[in-house]
Symmetry: C2
């Protein structure tokens, strides 16, 4: 199968608030032909993403808009336009409409993970039909989900789950960094995406936070079984991929936190549905209360270890074997202090995988 | 507001496999004019429900079908036909169609909690429109749910949640028995229904297992706030009821179990979203493994206490203050032994509220 070539829309938010765009550049297998950002035309991704090098981030030019990319490279250079930003509320911004129209007119597919469904937009649907393109809404879950059977623990590969002390602490990033480190060591590892960015990066997966609550555990179980090669993988907007060979290691992207006032249901469903063999606890340095719920302080790191392990055990035993601390923005000494503190708290090897790579995490989870 | 008068369809399954019908007879405020069961026409509910008396179960005649009830009582005797059975899979059985057709022709509403939506049935929809009746699908969640704000702990009433060691261990029954005991003592108590039977019994609520997983905690929070009188309650298929006075006690119906391989997400979402002040742990005597997941043994009772309390604490402190054991079918001595064993395990007052009433449970939760 040929590598899909994508353009990534990230107007006005690249890179700080374009988590999906940066995820695609950092971890995606798809070739990024260009990023669309009307604020930074003429620059290159590697110059704009903090700390990026050509080995850690795909280097690609930034264009003002779709038309500029088309003028430079022509319609055949790209297969799919990906919406690489997710505004609060998940709406579609009207300012993006000319880019989507131009992409469809050029025969490209359009992919998004917004609450707003591209497929519900009459104009886009008409245009996509006319030009023979796909509209892919990756947050739309499969329609045939069921309750979990309790069978994810029967798969062949070792299953690792990234869990968190809160939202936005680096679970997706840690997942991808462990997979990258594994591949660097010749371990056949596969990421199991449970959220929109992970799905766009990997090109398959289920947005577990969008499924019917009764099927939360079932969706996680289905993802693990699919990634283990048991049946065709779910690919948003496309045909099922052929069943892959069974890999050695699955790294499941966790969501939320088990003590999050709003998102704990999804966290718990993934913990039991995916039935991991080991957990990596992710934390953001300096976070002291649940983000957005500031009167709910975070428990101590060791408390999280107890909670995750004791909750997992009755379904499938899983120990917290490593920690991952997001230290972005801290100077190196303070970053190391925060990493060491957290590692002492959870009594397990801990690092910041973006700063230092995930070789230590890989060692701990294998 | 006048008491709604209902007929309850329970063909072939009454009472053993008609949990909803029995719930309506045992706990509902609505007047049951008749039960439809083609296998037992001419008998009365009190003679058929095991252990029933006229003070614990509404006494009503059983009719062979809707036509027989209409012949006996006329069309004006009933407001609504309720489907009081839920076959595995949640489908609508074609054998019920003549009853629904007759009910709609008589001008009655029809209410169901099936996966199959009455409102999706063209025939029913046409007929309901013609006769000016409502089709109420009580499992259909509101369309305007959101993520939890973490505010259920701010309501005035004391909030109690029934939690379980497994599914089908008596959480709904325990909820209703505590509310009944409270009212007997003059405490203004209100049940907070989270599942289809509870919703039908109380006439409002949200089937929390049907909401988008990200809104699980939010749905529980909304129910608690609504029951506390903060805003109009959600009533399936009808207009919002006027906001009630603030009660003294809310008893939230729990779902599943925190270590259930398939349903733990919903359990966890209710635990954090409802932010209860106290928990009542429900168990079915003799249950040793998760029902339907027989290779997953149930943890010891004291382990459940640790799990529920430690998971609740970071969001809102809640202790297990009482136990409820479903001893149906056991002789009195063995039943008491099982109750005592469980009470010793959790170190809290424990009873079977159907056998002995819920006065002790009420005492413990207040």
């Amino acid at each position: 199968m040929e590598t899909e070539r994508i353009a990534v829309l990230a107007h006005g938010q690249f890179p700080e608030r374009a988590k999906t765009a940066v995820g695609l550049l950092r971890y995606g297998d798809r070739e990024v032909v260009g990023v669309l950002d009307r604020d930074q035309p003429g620059r290159r991704t590697v110059d704009v993403v903090p700390g990026a090098t050509e080995t850690t981030v795909q280097d690609a030019p930034i264009y003002a808009d779709c038309t500029a990319l088309l003028e430079d490279r022509g319609p055949d250079a790209v297969d799919t336009l990906v919406i690489g930003v997710a505004p609060i509320g998940g709406g579609f911004e009207d300012a993006w409409r000319p880019d989507v129209d131009a992409a469809l007119a050029a025969g490209w597919n359009v992919e998004a993970g917004l609450h707003y469904r591209l497929g519900d937009d009459d104009e886009f649907r008409k245009r996509a039909r006319r030009h023979g393109c796909e509209l892919r809404d990756v947050r739309e879950p499969p329609t045939d989900l069921t309750v979990a059977e309790g069978t994810a623990d029967e798969v062949g590969p070792r299953v690792v789950l990234t869990v968190g002390t809160d939202c936005s602490v680096g679970k997706m990033t840690t997942t991808m960094e462990i997979v990258r480190a594994a591949r660097d060591r010749g371990v056949d590892a596969r990421a199991v995406p449970t959220g929109q960015t992970g799905i766009m990066v990997e090109g398959w997966g289920i947005a577990v936070d969008r499924v019917v609550s009764d099927f939360t555990n079932g969706a996680a179980e289905r993802l693990v079984r699919a990634a283990a090669g048991e049946r065709p993988r779910d690919r948003p907007g496309g045909d099922p991929l052929p069943a892959p060979e069974e890999p050695d290691l699955l790294v499941v992207e966790g969501q939320g936190s088990i003590v999050h006032p709003a998102y704990s249901a999804v966290t718990c469903g993934i913990l039991h549905g995916a039935a991991p063999d080991a957990l990596v606890l992710c934390h953001r340095a300096g976070r002291e209360a649940v983000h957005g719920y500031e009167d709910t302080p975070l428990p101590a790191p060791e408390r999280y270890v107890d909670l995750y392990e004791s909750l997992a055990a009755p379904v499938h035993d899983a120990d917290v074997v490593a920690g991952s601390v997001h230290t972005g923005g801290l100077d190196p000494d303070l970053a190391q202090l925060r990493i060491d503190e957290f590692g002492d708290g959870i009594d397990a090897p801990t690092t910041d995988p973006v700063r230092h790579g995930a070789a230590d995490l890989l060692e701990a989870v294998l």
